[in-house]
Subunit: 232 residues, 2 copies
């Protein structure tokens, strides 16, 4: 198979990590098929960032699948629960955060698998990270390996094809500073990304939620200034 | 853990198989949490049947998650492609049918996993069948086992809990006639179910699509009359 023609489905939230994996997948020679979810988020800035990031990465196609999990309850990102602010690192790493979406990465990868099957891709990219999200079972390499095994049993392509599924998680063991450095060498414009769980009405980041804190710390450790706009 | 209090998430399409697994799960002592999907089907009769079937099985709760996969293309159930009629058994078992939804069972089980995590269930029921759907990779016992393994790595409950996830697929090796006989001993009213891929405007079954043919053959083999209403 011609390397230039290989397609990959890339999960894109619009955050820093997903912008980086788009660049990594592109650099590896894949044609990019970007997949985002509209899962009843409280704000639209994330989806707008996903659109910008995909445009910058020159993806072949970007689809947003509506997946409303509000019927479940159970997460600050899908319910009307206050987003926690200014938590210490030990608080952040202690247990499952309120922002957790149940079985999130399993659901996202499953839908990615479905689309990939339709377009003839055998490669999926996901920006999970086991360093900053050590409390999330579905951000670990063991989870990724188990999903890859499942994919090879779940699909015609995996069972009968010459090629097997690969789930790429290139950020899994990187620190946020490493991720940022890697992205910058690949030309990622992080000003396009959005990470905040609780932006103001103009989309400016709060600077205090877990996601903002991790991001700011990453830029600081890399000796750089975050180009995102924060509420003063 | 008290057996009476155990909860199970049961995937319910409104067809014959899902009505049977609801009865089996109930008979096994589970409190039933039924999950259906509105994935852009061409007709609403399936969802109406799911509602009737859940009511008859006295489920604790029934939710329908909207999951529009039309952005993918690739299936007669989600696109405007003609449903094949009057195919022979060898035609039906030859390759992936046009009615195939890519990665369908992986996606359905993933969402079931998410809901189960929220309500504290560790048991999922799915009506897959490897006899009539031998061409579907995600209807085989190996797939079910791989999903169970994934669930135990993907969730807090699976990683840390005393109990592991169980994916029940009680119909996997039964013929359609066996399924019907099993359901009838448990009091299932198959008149409530809907199987046809191509009903008329009043919801009457066509009698000629793959699903109708399998169903009619099952009732015939069980020496029974199908209570569904067919177009004359």
């Amino acid at each position: 198979m011609n390397v230039e023609l290989r397609r990959a489905v890339v999960l894109v939230s619009g955050g820093l990590d997903s912008a980086t994996i788009l660049a990594i997948a592109r650099d590896a020679g894949f044609r990019l098929y970007a997949l985002s979810f509209d899962y009843g988020q409280r704000h639209r800035f994330e989806l707008e960032a996903a659109h910008r990031v995909c445009e910058a990465a020159q993806v072949e196609r970007h689809i947003t699948v509506p997946l409303d999990l509000r019927a479940f309850g159970g997460s600050a990102l899908t319910d009307d629960i206050a987003v926690p602010k200014d938590r210490s690192e030990s608080e952040m790493s202690d247990g499952i955060p309120i922002t957790y979406v149940p079985a999130r990465n399993t659901i996202f990868l499953s839908v990615a698998l479905g689309w990939a099957e339709v377009i003839g891709a055998m490669d999926l990219f996901i920006g999970v990270n086991a360093v900053d999200y050590s409390g999330y079972p579905d951000c670990r390499p063991e989870f990724i390996a188990a999903f890859e095994r499942l994919a090879n049993l779940a699909t015609k392509a995996g069972v009968e094809g010459a090629k097997k599924w690969t789930v790429h998680a290139p950020l899994v063991s990187l620190t946020k500073a490493d991720i940022i450095r890697r992205g910058l060498t690949l030309g990622v414009d992080y000003a396009l990304t959005h990470s905040c769980y609780d932006p103001d009405s103009q989309g400016r980041s709060c600077g205090h939620c877990d996601s903002c804190q991790l991001r700011l710390k990453g830029f600081a450790e890399a000796g750089l200034t975050d180009p995102a706009t924060y509420v003063l």
